[in-house]
């Protein structure tokens, strides 16, 4: 459980960081931010980069700024701990609370979590539901990618080998819901659901049922076509979500069990979206 050897540099700016990435000929350089996903991969030697580019000391990437009435920009180095502490986005506050444990949230970053693209991780699911836009930099390029298009598959994102995430633009949803079920506190969720209404349109993203966050398009249609979010409509949307997913079973939970979780957690997140109450405050009886 020791990482394979690599070289290590500390970048002073995003431009310098991506130049380091570009200068490595075999394209096996990696950015290290909080390291809470990359370090296990290194320890298990699932990743064997030739160079690690540390971005932790780049100034200005650890801030959250309000850029309009309804949008915030989140620097790539903003830690989960800071997402828990901020009050601009209650959805991000709630989702970040579910990530790992205190010692993980101290270091883990939003940019790192998105780039790692674990299909069960909280932030990619929230990014898709809230319609976040990811700001990306390369040695001679700057571009934005919709969260929806950013995730390609399990641990696979749409960054080029010499690009990094600099910041994330997040709309502040008018209404939202978040529900997750894990066997143990702090584990990755077996199923995680985020629902967010931005400019009157509800998006629902589900994690743990595919190789990336999956949108529940039929459920979204039902919710968006209706004027009121009645209990009956929520049940209908929850059943539609369950009918649309094809999760794999594993020793943590069978496929059928996960489908059952999708139905219940979509129901809970939509009830929360409708009521404005956190999951723990709602009486489910």
């Amino acid at each position: 459980m020791k990482p394979a050897p690599f070289d290590y540099v500390v970048a002073a700016s995003p431009r310098e960081a991506v130049q380091y990435l570009a200068d490595v000929e075999d394209a096996s350089a990696k950015i290290i931010a909080g390291g809470q996903s990359l370090m296990p991969l290194l320890a298990l030697r699932l990743a064997r980069p030739s160079l690690l580019v540390d971005i932790n000391r780049i100034p200005g990437l650890e801030t959250i700024e309000r850029i309009s009435e309804t949008t915030i920009r989140i620097g790539t180095l903003v830690r989960h701990r800071m997402l828990c502490a901020q009050t601009n986005s209650p959805l991000l506050h709630e989702a970040a609370r579910w990530i790992g444990h205190s010692a993980i949230r101290t270091r883990g970053t939003i940019g790192g979590s998105l780039a790692h693209a674990d299909p069960a991780a909280e932030l990619p699911i929230v990014a898709v539901a809230a319609g976040m836009v990811i700001e990306v930099m390369g040695p001679s390029t700057q571009r934005t990618v919709d969260a929806q298009d950013f995730f390609i598959g399990t641990l696979e994102n749409s960054l080029a080998d010499d690009e990094m995430i600099v910041s994330v633009i997040s709309p502040l949803p008018e209404r939202w819901g978040f529900a997750e079920y894990a066997r143990r506190h702090g584990d990755f969720g077996l199923v995680t659901v985020a629902a967010a209404e931005v400019q009157g349109e509800v998006k629902i993203a589900v994690g743990g049922v595919g190789s990336k966050p999956v949108r529940m398009l039929e459920s979204e249609g039902l919710v968006n076509d209706s004027v009121t979010l009645s209990g009956q409509l929520i049940d209908q949307a929850a059943r539609a979500a369950a009918a649309s997913v094809e999760p794999n079973g594993d020793f943590h939970g069978s496929a059928r069990y996960r489908i059952g979780l999708v139905e219940e957690l979509v129901r809970r997140s939509l009830r929360q979206l409708g009521s404005g109450q956190a999951d723990s405050e709602v009486d489910w009886s």
């Binding site: 690599f6 370090m39 296990p40 320890a43 444990h101 205190s102 010692a103 101290t106 506190h185």
Partner: protein, 157 residues
């Protein structure tokens, strides 16, 4: 690579490969074997230490990333005169350790918990300590010990 840092209030300089984890550097290069390594990939919590006042898994931080940092390990909990920290004292009194392997991480995580929540409930302790695994399954006595330490610490203030 040369790394200069402060460990338990004392300056230290080490020369390590970039791949050296902070946990290995503490144990192998600095001889501070109080920090234990269980899973070595961030799951068990045994290697939890304080880095600039915040808890981290020492196996998920590279030693070279700790340049200039101030660390607190289990060796730094007791007073100069060897008097146990109230948490350590409470762990002893409440039989909160059996084999002792998880204890260094438990103590540092408990310290972080009490820094943030001086008067935790049992439920808060169980939730906050869930990132530290004890294979002797002494969780109830660990919870008792933290609760008692919280009481004694807040009464002192």
């Amino acid at each position: 690579m040369r790394v200069t840092l402060s460990v338990n209030g004392k300056p230290a300089t080490i020369d390590v490969e970039p791949r050296r984890t902070l946990a290995d550097a503490l144990r192998e290069d600095l001889g501070l074997t109080g920090t234990h390594l269980g899973c070595e990939h961030g799951v068990c919590g045994a290697c939890t230490v304080m880095l600039d006042g915040l808890p981290v898994r020492a196996c998920l931080v590279l030693a070279v990333q700790a340049e200039g940092a101030s660390l607190l390990t289990v060796e730094g909990l007791a007073g100069e005169d060897g008097a146990l920290h109230p948490l350590q004292q409470s762990f002893t009194e409440h039989h909160a350790l059996q084999c002792g392997f998880c204890t260094p991480g438990m103590l540092i995580s408990a310290l972080d918990l009490l820094n943030r929540i001086p008067n935790p409930t049992r439920a808060e302790i169980r939730s906050e300590m869930s990132g530290n695994i004890c294979r002797c399954t002494g969780y109830n006595s660990i919870t008792d010990a933290i609760l008692a330490a919280a009481r004694s610490l807040t009464q002192k203030d």
